[in-house]
């Protein structure tokens, strides 16, 4: 299924354009990493609060929700740049086991961030909030690991 899809994508003019313009892939990968940085900053603010490590003067209840929204916007940029990278090198991505693992992990972390956006303030006072922070941190690190190792498997 993935082999067929990657062959069809490889025949599109968009894929040919990326293959013929050598600056596209590093530029889009750089934007992908910049979005990873933005998402990391947002997750940092959320997790410090879920873990009760934020400073005492931070009484603004909206910080977590707004950080979650920034994280979702960064996720949108990651999705769009990721699609461009798949179109550019479909066989490298779609048929790669780690790429497939990464997509499952991405779905899981998106669910976690949506949960924070929808009921972040309640989570802050619950033990479940700490568990959610731990899960998010592990998922985030695993996604970066899977993403970087796509190039090596």
């Amino acid at each position: 299924m993935f082999e067929q899809a990657s062959q069809q994508i490889a025949q599109t003019s968009a894929s040919a354009f990326i293959a013929n313009h050598l600056w596209v892939t590093p530029l889009v990968q750089s934007v992908h990493i910049l979005a990873i940085a933005a998402l990391s900053g947002a997750l940092l603010m959320i997790n410090l609060r879920l873990l009760g490590l934020a400073p005492a003067d931070d009484r603004s209840p909206s910080v977590m929700r707004r950080s979650g929204l920034v994280g979702l916007y960064a996720g949108l940029v990651l999705l769009l740049t990721g699609i461009v990278l798949v179109i550019g090198e479909p066989a490298r991505e779609l048929t790669n086991a780690l790429f497939q693992v990464k997509m499952v992990l991405v779905a899981a972390i998106m669910a976690a961030v949506v949960l924070v956006v929808r009921r972040g303030d309640d989570l802050r006072r619950e033990a479940g909030g700490k568990a959610l922070a731990a899960v998010t941190i592990v998922l985030w690190a695993s996604i970066i690991f899977a993403g970087r190792w796509i190039a090596y498997v």
Partner: protein
């Protein structure tokens, strides 16, 4: 690099740890991954401080409080980025030293370091002595804006190293 003696680069490459990184099947990609994790946290956290200084996020919180929350972690993950970066560099020091994107990245990092020095030794100090009120000083804003640009440039140059 002209007449500069670069023989120390081959000395670096012959270090045991450099050979290990070069020859192991997992060491280099693992260092790369840790480097990406560290950079994501360095840049993601420093952007929060920069954007607060520019008055674009967390306007209700004191500038000093945001800096106190975020900057200690920024320094820790920067240490991880530096260590992983140095280990990758010494594994193929001569190749990296010849790479234009790597050279640009070094220049950008020196600029970023000078900006940090300016921020802490001058801009932030004068602002703190003046009472460190809710608004950051113009010097801090310039430094914060420059920081955003330097880190974007560092990531662009860094990602290009593998393509040249």
């Amino acid at each position: 690099m002209g007449s500069v003696d670069l023989s120390f680069l081959s000395d670096l490459e012959s270090l045991g740890v450099a050979q290990f990184v070069r020859e192991s099947s997992w060491a280099y990609p693992t260092l790369e991954t840790l480097h990406v994790i560290a950079i994501a946290l360095v840049v993601g956290s420093i952007w929060i401080v920069d954007l607060r200084i520019l008055g674009l996020v967390f306007q209700r919180r004191a500038v000093q409080s945001v800096m106190d929350e975020v900057l200690p972690l920024t320094w820790c993950v920067f240490a991880l980025a530096l260590i992983t970066g140095v280990l990758m560099f010494i594994s193929s020091a001569m190749m990296f030293a010849e790479n234009p994107a790597f050279r640009i990245k070094l220049v950008v990092l020196v600029c970023a370091a000078l900006n940090v020095l300016f921020f802490h030794s001058h801009a932030m100090k004068r602002w703190q002595l003046a009472g460190g009120d809710a608004l950051a000083s113009p010097a801090m804003k310039i430094s914060g804006g420059a920081s955003i640009v330097f880190w974007i440039s560092a990531i662009l140059a860094g990602r290009w190293i593998g393509f040249l």
